[in-house]
């Protein structure tokens, strides 16, 4: 189906990029991205992907909005405190772009259910706030061969990497097993997940449109206090139980 006049106007600044064009915009409209975690990272990722016209966006989160979330989780409003996060985010995304279908999963990501959800999507964004679920997303996406972008934040620092399962190093290739989760909340500069979550959305769009170079086999780290970005080459761990990238053809 060609873009409507309204869509052509809405996405004008995408479409005039020769790397995207109307064909790229139609591709975004037919694409599906799953965001696991609608918090600090998930907020900007969901807003920018909705604004960009990604046709179907899934949101997984079993939590309700709390006042202390609002310092960084910019998709939720003060009036949303107490509301389910996926509902609050869905309402904002619809207000921003009614073109987008937002599917909500008001549940915690779990081993027995995440696989069947992930398989319906073209790309997954790991925006969760605990190690166990980061490893779960990695393992499920690797098992189902669904590309994804990992990210994590800590205080003034963030990191991200994109994984094409079976072809590039996965999260578990680098971080073999989860460490203990911290006791109590960690401090985080509120704008930091805005930077990193927006980078995850960038990776999603690049993957969907086959544009540029993804952060594959590369861990990008960012330090807000020094304003340094560093790219670290990482390689597949031949012993990694998750991704099987050691078997890839060379």
């Amino acid at each position: 189906m060609p873009l409507t006049d309204e869509q052509i106007e809405r996405y004008q600044r995408n479409i005039i990029l020769k790397e995207i064009g109307a064909a790229g915009q139609e591709k975004l409209r037919s694409s599906k991205v799953l965001i696991v975690g609608v918090g600090g990272l998930g907020s900007p990722a969901a807003l920018y992907l909705a604004a960009a016209g990604v046709g179907t966006i899934g949101l997984v989160d079993g939590d309700a909005v709390e006042l202390s979330n609002l310092q960084r989780q910019v998709i939720h409003d003060t009036a949303d405190v107490g509301r389910r996060k996926v509902e609050s985010a869905q309402a904002r995304m619809h207000a921003l772009n009614p073109d987008v279908t937002v599917r909500t999963y008001d549940t915690w990501a779990q081993a027995d259910s995440l696989g069947s959800i992930v398989r319906e999507y073209d790309f997954v964004i790991d925006a969760v706030d605990n190690f166990a679920t980061k490893f779960l997303i990695n393992d499920v996406c690797c098992a189902d061969r669904v590309p994804f972008c990992h990210a994590g934040i800590l205080e003034f620092e963030g990191q991200l990497m994109t994984v094409l399962p079976g072809r590039t190093a996965c999260y578990r290739c680098v971080f073999a097993a989860p460490p203990a989760d911290p006791h109590g909340p960690i401090g985080v500069l509120g704008v930091l997940p805005g930077v990193i979550g927006a980078l995850q959305a960038t990776e999603a769009i690049k993957h969907l449109l086959a544009l540029g170079d993804l952060l594959t086999d590369t861990l990008l780290s960012y330090h807000a206090l020094t304003m340094q970005f560093r790219r670290l080459r990482v390689t597949c761990n031949p012993k990694c139980p998750a991704c099987g990238c050691s078997h890839r053809p060379v």
Binding site: G40, A151, R230, T235
Partner: protein, 70 residues
């Protein structure tokens, strides 16, 4: 002088003063070994291997923090 590259920055040690293992290097730096993995000349070393992984002049060592926040 002996030199290590640590997270992209050269670090110099007087002869014989370089920590012998990754575990000793982390202790020297005051870094909690359970909060990082190391990459030594491109090869990942998990925390369980820190005590027996030797450190030598000329190596490039990256300490990669676990970041669990979202």
């Amino acid at each position: 002088m002996e030199t290590l590259k640590l997270n992209g920055v050269e670090r110099q040690y007087a002869s014989g003063q370089m920590p012998a293992t990754l575990a000793a290097l982390l202790a020297d730096l005051g870094v909690d070994g359970s909060a990082v993995v190391a990459e030594v000349d491109g090869a990942i070393v998990p925390a369980a291997g820190f005590a027996e992984t030797p450190v030598a002049a000329g190596q490039s060592i990256e300490l990669i923090k676990f970041m669990g926040g979202g």
